[in-house]
């Protein structure tokens, strides 16, 4: 199962950092993702981008998990040599993450 089946997501930039807002599709999916989709797992998934660290914040009112990936944009909007210098593609990348089935 891919994260896409359990959640929506949107990403963007703040200087050289990026954030990915993940919004669970149901209350059950939200509690499973709070357990499964840890900051460590997201950091490991994006290891090729060499994040300095990844922080996770929870917004239970919207079944939201917000990930802040530090120093992943190789300099940010103006300075980065990468095409996705503003982290716009990170959300669609994260939605393809393989996720263990929801526990019954």
């Amino acid at each position: 199962m891919r994260l896409y089946e359990l959640a929506l997501a949107r990403s963007g930039d703040k200087g050289n950092h990026a954030n990915i807002g993940v919004l669970a599709r149901s209350a059950e999916a939200y509690s499973w993702l709070c357990h499964y989709l840890t900051a460590e797992r997201v950091a490991e998934y994006f290891r090729y981008l060499e994040p300095r660290k990844v922080d996770r914040y929870l917004a239970p009112n919207i079944w939201g998990l917000n990930f802040v990936l530090y120093n992943v944009l190789a300099g940010g909007a103006a300075r980065s040599l990468r095409l996705d210098s503003q982290g716009k593609a990170l959300a669609s990348a994260l939605l393809e993450m393989a996720i263990e089935e929801l526990p019954p």
């Binding site: 929506l8 963007g12 919004l23 917000n66 940010g76 909007a77 996705d84």
Partner: protein
């Protein structure tokens, strides 16, 4: 008695947004206020270059075109007021041109500008007075890059905009202000809220955050995009606020797109750090406090926003010269397209090395093979690949040399090279971003206004 509701529509989410959107929004939105947002993090450095070439420039020129098109409508919708940060680094010149346009259309309006966000004229005084403007991530003082600084602006809040409205302004042109403050100002001015009413200030801040990126809350970028109807005619967003701080996110009737709990919560976390503490000059808003409820046929109601007292500092966004950048593309077709693209990237590098002109940083991406987010997509071998090669160096000459090495691949590279019709890629100067904080007490704002 203060009016019960206030309708604020945002017709522009960045410089380059859809040019008809503000016109359609005013035609169909029944707005009290139209906001237009033009300034991304690094827009100020581009404006600084333009002002360097011509002291009459340095503002978002697109706004003038929008204003010209809005004038005939403004004659009919007389209650409308407009707030925009199009002034950039030069609100004075922007307002001068705006007044000419209003005058040409015979519109009698009061045009105000907000000044004080631009720190460049007194940057050395600030540094000398003990404001280090240290980089928010590294802690380095701004003095380390001072000679290369091209722009430095604080994000002002809603207060000076409210002052301008108090003075009767119909059009308020600002430089750098926090995007959400463009919505907070009309709410405070309309409802007469106190500057310590943190919950209501947070509510308007959240409303402003939701509409500041235009169509991103009305169906643009939405994950389940096949569900979104008629994106070509997507309606730009309207925040309909009440005096108690409750608000609705809506869009004009008969427009495309959609406003649902899902489109709103996706945008709520857009470009946010800690959602429980979203800091603006006006308030620290708690995005985790709000409750969303759907409205028929198209809309979302947002209630119970909570806020905490504003901080003692403004955020500063500075930009400094940081070398040169060049990026070019070529397309490889047929079998082994990725391998052929890799050969091309290596050829360029070897030729530059042989010439003693290798740039300090060189990066090749194989677009179509999964390189947009490296290491994440499944690897594939398509029959066509865009090779994007990009270089950076502190010396412009090295990049001019780099720019000349792409075209020769058309004849000396592997077979199947195509798509090189755009000529040599341009070399551009790089402006790096320097975020910092500054005590609010060190900043003085000023309002000027004129009648047309």
């Amino acid at each position: 008695m203060a009016p019960r509701t206030l309708r604020v529509g945002n017709g522009c989410g960045f410089w380059g947004d859809q040019p008809d959107a503000p016109v359609y929004l005013v035609e169909r939105g029944d707005l009290d206020f139209l906001t237009l947002e033009y300034l991304a993090e690094l827009t100020m450095s581009i404006l600084a270059q333009q002002r360097q070439r011509d002291p009459q420039l340095g503002y978002a020129t697109d706004f003038l075109e929008v204003l010209s098109r809005l004038c005939p409508l403004w004659q009919r919708y007389t209650k409308l007021r407009i707030i925009t940060n199009a002034g950039g680094l030069n609100p004075l010149s922007c307002a001068e041109r705006a007044r000419e346009i209003l005058g040409r259309h015979g519109l009698k309006k009061r045009v105000a500008i907000v000044r004080g966000d631009d720190l460049l004229p007194h940057l050395d005084d600030l540094l000398a007075a003990g404001h280090p403007l240290a980089h928010m991530d590294t802690g380095e003082p701004l003095t380390t890059v001072r000679p290369r600084v091209v722009s430095a602006n604080v994000y002002l809040g809603a207060k000076p905009i409210v002052e301008a409205l108090d003075q009767g302004a119909d059009l308020v042109i600002t430089g750098r202000v926090a995007d959400a403050s463009l919505t907070v100002a009309p709410a405070v001015w309309t409802f007469g809220w106190s500057w310590q009413d943190w919950d209501r200030l947070a509510a308007a801040t959240i409303a402003g955050h939701l509409i500041e990126c235009g169509a991103q809350v009305t169906g643009g970028l939405f994950t389940d995009w096949p569900l979104v109807p008629n994106l070509a005619d997507v309606g730009y967003p309207i925040a309909e606020l009440e005096s108690d701080g409750a608000f609705r996110i809506l869009k004009p009737r008969d427009s495309g797109g959609m406003v649902t709990i899902d489109t709103v919560r996706e945008q709520l976390l857009y470009e946010v750090g800690d959602p429980a503490a979203y800091i603006t000059p006006d308030v620290v808003a708690d995005f985790t406090s709000v409750q969303l409820a759907p409205l028929e046929p198209d809309g979302v109601e947002v209630r119970h926003a909570r806020g905490k007292p504003a901080t003692e500092t403004y955020k500063v966004s500075a930009a400094y010269r940081d070398g040169y950048f060049c990026s070019g593309q070529i397309v490889l077709t047929g079998r082994d397209a990725v391998e052929k693209a890799r050969l091309c990237a290596d050829m360029i590098r070897q030729r530059l090395r042989r010439a003693g002109a290798e740039p300090a940083q060189y990066y090749a991406e194989f677009l179509g093979a999964g390189d947009t987010v490296p290491g994440v997509w499944p690897r594939v071998s398509p029959y066509e690949i865009v090779l994007r090669i990009t270089a950076w160096d502190s010396q412009r000459a090295l990049l001019e040399r780099f720019a000349r090495e792409i075209a020769p691949l058309v004849t000396s590279g592997p077979p199947g090279v195509t798509g090189y019709a755009t000529g040599r890629p341009p070399v551009r100067e790089v402006f790096a971003y320097w975020p910092a904080l500054l005590d609010k007490s060190a900043v003085k704002t000023e309002i000027l206004y004129w009648d047309t």
